[in-house]
C-alpha cells in the first residue's frame, strides 16, 4: 500500500510539471511584455531595455520557466501589480468563499444525490424513479448561469428574500460570530443551490447505474436466497459495493466544481477565485493567472490521488503492487 501511494505521487510529478510547462508556454505567447504593462510612458527605449534586463526578461523563456518553478517551490508565485500583493496572498484572500461554496454544494450533492440514486435504482421504472430520472436530466442540462439568473429574478429581485450580490451585508456591523455566519449562509444559499444542482443530478445518475449494476450480481441473489431482509441486502450488501466507483467521481469532482464556481461566483458577485480569475484574464494579469491555474491544477491532481488511494482502500479486489 505504501509503495502504491509513493509510486502514485511520483507519477504525479511529471504530469504536474507538464501542466505548468504548457501553461507557461501559452502565457508566453501573450501579446505585450510585462514591461509594456507597467512602464511609465515617459521612459526612453534605453530605460526600457534596462528594466527588461533587470527583470530578467532577456533570458529565454525556458530558463525563466525553470526559475519560476524554483521560486514556486519556495512559495513565491510572483507579484500581482494590480493588487499590490504577492500572488499567493491574493489567492489566499479569495480562496475562502470558493472552498466554502464548493464544499457546501458537494455536501448537498452527496447527501441528496446518493440516497436518491439508491432509491431510484431499487424501485426501477416506478413512478418515483421516473420522476428522479427526469429531475436528473433537468439538473445536468440546465446551464448554471441561466438557472442562477432565474433564481435571482424570482427570489432576489421579484420577491426580495435573498440578497442579490456579494458574500456579506456591508451594512451589517456585528462582532457576533453567530450573526456573521448566518449572514454568510444567507448569501450563499442561492449560489450553493445553483452549484449543487448539477452535481446532485450527476451523483444521482452515477449512483443509480452503479446500484443497478451491482443488484444484478450473483452475490446479491445469494444474499436474497439466504433469506436476508431486503433492507439488509440493499444497504449492507449492494450499496457498499455500488459506492466504490462513486469515490472516483469525488476525485474528478474537484475541477468540475471549481469550474462551476467561475460562473456561479460571477453571477452572484461572490469574491472568490472564479471571479478573480475572470478579472485577471480580462485585465491580463498574467502572474495571477499562472498562480491560480497552478494551484487549481495541483488541487485537481491531489483530488485524483486521494480518490485513487480511497478506491484502493475501499475495494480489496484492486491489487496495488
Amino acid at each position: 500500500m505504501k509503495n502504491y501511494i509513493i509510486r502514485r505521487i511520483l507519477q504525479m510529478i511529471p504530469v504536474f510539471i507538464g501542466i505548468l510547462f504548457i501553461l507557461f508556454f501559452i502565457l508566453e505567447q501573450a501579446p505585450g511584455t510585462p514591461v509594456s504593462n507597467m512602464m511609465d510612458p515617459k521612459m526612453t527605449p534605453e530605460q526600457k531595455a534596462e528594466l527588461a534586463e533587470k527583470l530578467g526578461l532577456n533570458t529565454p523563456w525556458y530558463e525563466r520557466f525553470v526559475n519560476w518553478i524554483g521560486e514556486a517551490m519556495k512559495g513565491n508565485l510572483g507579484y500581482s501589480i494590480k493588487h499590490k500583493k504577492p500572488v499567493l496572498e491574493v489567492i489566499g484572500d479569495y480562496i475562502g468563499p470558493t472552498l466554502l461554496l464548493s464544499l457546501v454544494s458537494l455536501g448537498i450533492s452527496v447527501l441528496i444525490g446518493i440516497p436518491a440514486g439508491v432509491i431510484s435504482a431499487t424501485k426501477q421504472y416506478s413512478l418515483i424513479d421516473n420522476f428522479l430520472t427526469i429531475f436528473s436530466f433537468i439538473g445536468i442540462s440546465i446551464p448554471a448561469f441561466f438557472f442562477g439568473l432565474l433564481l435571482l429574478k424570482n427570489f432576489a429581485v421579484d420577491i426580495q428574500i435573498f440578497p442579490l450580490f456579494g458574500l456579506r451585508d456591508p451594512l451589517l456591523n456585528s462582532d457576533n460570530m453567530f450573526v456573521l455566519a448566518k449572514d454568510i449562509a444567507w448569501h450563499l444559499f442561492l449560489p450553493s443551490i445553483v452549484l449543487g444542482l448539477q452535481s446532485t443530478a450527476s451523483f444521482m445518475r452515477y449512483t443509480r447505474s452503479s446500484m443497478l449494476e451491482v443488484i444484478k450480481q450473483d452475490y446479491i441473489r445469494t444474499a436474497r436466497a439466504k433469506g436476508l431482509k431486503e433492507k439488509t441486502v440493499i444497504y449492507r450488501h449492494a450499496f457498499r459495493n455500488a459506492v466504490i466507483p462513486i469515490i472516483t467521481l469525488l476525485g474528478f469532482w474537484i475541477p468540475l466544481l471549481l469550474s462551476g464556481a467561475v460562473t456561479t461566483e460571477t453571477i452572484f458577485g461572490l469574491p472568490g477565485l472564479g471571479k478573480i480569475s475572470v478579472e485577471a484574464t480580462l485585465t491580463r494579469n498574467y502572474p495571477l493567472i499562472l498562480g491560480i491555474n497552478s494551484i487549481l491544477a495541483m488541487l485537481t491532481l491531489i483530488g485524483a490521488l486521494v480518490a485513487d488511494i480511497l478506491y484502493a482502500i475501499a475495494d480489496p479486489r484492486i491489487r496495488y503492487d
Binding site: Q29, P143, D158
Partner: protein
Amino acid sequence: MANNEINDTKRKNNKSAQSYWGEVLYRLRKNRMAMICLFILTIIIALCIIVPWVSPYGIETTNMDDAVRDQRPSEKHWLGTDKIGRDLFTRLFYAGRISLGVAIAVVFLECLIGVILGSLAGFYGGMVDVIIMRFAEIFLSFPFMIITITISAVFGNSISTLIFVLAILSWPSIARIVRGQILTLREMEYMEACEALGISDMRRIFKHLLPNVLAYVIVYATLGMASVILTETSLSFLGLGVSPPTPSWGNMIQEARNTLIIQQKWWYWIPPGICIFISVMCFNILGDGLRDAIDPKMKR
C-alpha cells in the same frame, strides 16, 4: 416487457435479419423519449437554418426609432426587439446557428483527435501508449473553465480559437474510451487472422478495429454535443467565448446582468436560455437512448 421479448424472437427468426445498425435503429425507435428528443432537435436545427434566411429583418439591422427599439413581443417582432432595434426572434436562431455550429465543429475535432490518438495508444501499446496517455492525463488535469478563459485571453476570443481550445481540452475522454475498446478488440481471434494475412497496421486499425468502436464514438459525440453547448454558452455569457456583435445563445443572456432587464424584460434573456436548456437536454436524452440501443445489456 414480455411482449417485446416475443417481438425480438420473432425478428431473430425472420430471414431478412437486420444488420447491426438496423438492430440499433430498431431499438432506438422503440425508445419514445429519445425519439421525441430527436424530433425536437430536428425542429430546432431546421429553425436555425430557415429563420435567419426567410426573416424580413437582417441579423444586424438596427432601428433606433423609439417605436421599434426595446419593444415587447408583438405581431411584427415575435420576440420583441433589443435596445438598438434588432429583431430578437431572428437573432435567437442566428445565435443558434453559431452555438450549434461551434458545438458540431468541436465535437468533430475532438473525436478526430481522440479516435486517432486513442487507437494508436491502444494498438501499439508500450511507449506510444505511455506517452499518449500521459498527455491525456495532463489535459484532463487542467482546470477546464479557467484554462479556457486563460487561452481565450491570450489568443483573443475568435470563434476559431474557441473551437480549437475546446477540442484540444476535451479529446482525452474519447481517447480513453477508444483505447480501452481497442485493447480488448486487439486480443480477439479475427485480429490474429488479420496478422496472419499480413494486413498492414493502418488497414488493421481503420478497417478492422475502428468500425467496431464507431458505436461508442457516436454515443460519446451525442453526449459531447450537450456538454460543449453548455461550455460555449457559459464562456460566451462571461464574455470570453463568442463575442458580440456575433450572437450566441450565451452572450444573448449577458443582457440579463442588468437589473432592469432581469426584472422587466424577459424577452431579452429567457428565450435563449430555454433554447440552451432544451437542446442540451435533448442531446443528453438522445445520447442515453443511443447507448441503450447500442448495448442492450447496459439497459438501465
